[in-house]
């Protein structure tokens, strides 16, 4: 118990001291994961929408494949990307390996299927009359889509939060294609992996606390918004 407590308090102390290296690492994590999420979001929602509202042959094969990709470990995604980006690989000339753009690409691959799966289920749960109402009131297909997004905004928010959680907390792909290079591609999770390997649990816990805190701030504000915009009425 003592040891556990000691680890936590040292972690807090280390954070409070405002170590610039530590905060630099946090910055890498956030810029990479936020970029990945931003780039993946609209395409993923569009795919989710198409899968929810259009029937075409092979539709459920696509859904199954996307769901299955969720069960592929991040390190395997990283590995395949590594082989593509490696000098010996087909995209080696892009010189992307061990850079942040490579990490972003990895995380896009990781959050895309999750965003599709969760938005698909949000769209399926939505009332079928939403699109009809929008269309009949003059919405073009794009406007109808935006209206639908608005109507299911809480479920989509949950999807975005979950996806962000997945990629900011992942280590496999970031390590593989980023390489954990200090000041360049070392992010929170690869730093944790390094420190725990050294038996330095304090740093690991400190970085974990940063992630938890930042996620809390994000979620508390979202949660606050959500709970204040919703008044309960039961059906009649």
């Amino acid at each position: 118990m003592n040891e556990l407590w000691h680890t936590f308090s040292s972690a807090i102390a280390q954070l409070a001291s405002g170590d610039p290296m530590l905060w630099g690492i946090v910055g890498v994590s956030f810029s990479v994961s936020a970029s990945a999420l931003f780039i993946a979001l609209l395409p993923a929602l569009s795919v989710g929408f198409v899968l929810a509202y259009f029937r075409f042959p092979g539709r459920w094969a696509v859904i199954s494949l996307l769901n299955s990709l969720l069960a592929v470990p991040t390190v395997v995604v990283g590995l395949v990307l590594y082989m593509l980006l490696s000098r010996a690989g087909p995209l080696g000339d892009l010189n992307l390996l061990f850079t942040r753009p490579a990490m972003i690409v990895g995380q896009i691959l990781l959050c895309f299927p999750l965003l599709v799966a969760m938005s698909l289920s949000a769209f399926q749960a939505a009332d079928h009359r939403v699109l009809e109402t929008a269309k009949t009131l003059g919405a073009n297909p794009w406007q109808a889509f935006v209206t639908l997004l608005f109507e299911v905004r809480f479920a989509l928010l949950a999807a975005v939060v979950t996806a962000f959680g997945r990629i900011i907390a992942e280590v496999g792909s970031a390590m593989m294609v980023g390489g954990n290079i200090l000041h360049h591609t070392r992010n929170i999770t690869t730093a944790i992996a390094l420190e725990t390997g050294k038996g330095e649990f304090v740093q690991g816990v400190a970085l974990g606390i940063v992630l938890l805190t930042l996620a809390l701030v994000l979620n508390v504000s979202l949660g606050w918004m959500q709970s204040h915009s919703r008044v309960l009425r039961h059906g009649t």
Binding site: S86, R87, A88, G89, G92, L97, F98, G179, N180, I181, L182, H184, L194, T196, G197, K198, G199
Partner: protein, 241 residues
């Protein structure tokens, strides 16, 4: 870019060397720390410019196939056997590593093998081979992890393991283990640097890599290696001729 084994990076040696190097040179060195196998693989793919590893056999193969050039020995450290304080197999007091390992097997004590194809693991397998048998007793566990984690696991499970001295010194205080056997000449652990062959990968920064490698083996670099201490103990001994 240099790919190197976790032992040199996690012990802090590389940071020590880079800061010494940075005082006199204006060249940024990016470190990617991975297992020996993967480091060689990255070099083979041309994803790094320089490697520093400690697996003589694999390194020889790497050189023979023409992936690397200018292999130079840089330094060495040594391996030791550590085990639980109670020392149930009574390894303490034996003088050769073969005898020590034999006792562990005979008592069916727990032994953590890294099982990760690292330089350390290869060395350990070699030693078992000397005993004429592959380790099959039920206490023999393959952790499949790096040295630091394997030591922690040994500490948690009350097991023996073989480790490089550097990692041991760095972690010793946090472990519930003691040193049970050292200084058998079989336990020496040499490190080499190799440049990636520019004939295979024209894009590698061979000049910069060579500059750093040269620095490592000249008197400045060798002194820096020799002066690296953890808790007052030297980890690596310079070995460049």
């Amino acid at each position: 870019r240099i790919a190197t084994t976790t032992s040199t990076y996690n012990s802090g040696l590389l940071d020590h060397l880079l800061s010494a190097y940075g005082e006199t040179h204006d060249l940024e060195v990016q470190v990617i720390s991975v297992g020996t196998g993967k480091a060689l693989r990255m070099a083979q793919n041309g994803d790094v410019d320089l490697v520093m590893t400690h697996a003589p056999v694999a390194e020889a193969a790497f050189m023979d196939q023409g992936f690397g050039i200018e292999a130079r020995s840089v330094m060495y450290n040594d391996f030791i056997l550590v085990g639980p304080k109670a020392d149930p197999a009574k390894v303490h007091g034996t003088h050769t590593v073969t005898e020590g390992l034999q006792r562990i097997a005979a008592f069916n004590s727990k032994f953590i093998s890294r099982g990760d194809d690292s330089g350390t693991h290869k060395k350990e397998l070699q030693l078992w081979q000397h005993l004429g048998a592959s380790p099959t007793f039920s206490g023999y566990l393959e952790s499949g992890r790096g040295m630091g984690h394997s030591l922690q696991m040994a500490s948690e499970l009350g097991a023996y393991t073989m480790t490089d001295r550097g990692t041991w010194l760095a972690l010793k205080q946090k472990l519930n283990l003691q040193l049970v056997l050292e200084s058998d000449p079989r336990l020496l652990n040499p490190y080499q640097v190799m440049l990636v062959n520019p004939a295979r990968h024209s894009h590698v920064k061979v000049n910069e890599a060579r500059e750093f490698a040269q620095w490592l083996i000249n008197s400045e670099g060798q002194a820096a290696i020799g002066s690296f201490r953890i808790n007052g103990e030297a980890l690596f001994l310079p070995s460049a001729e």
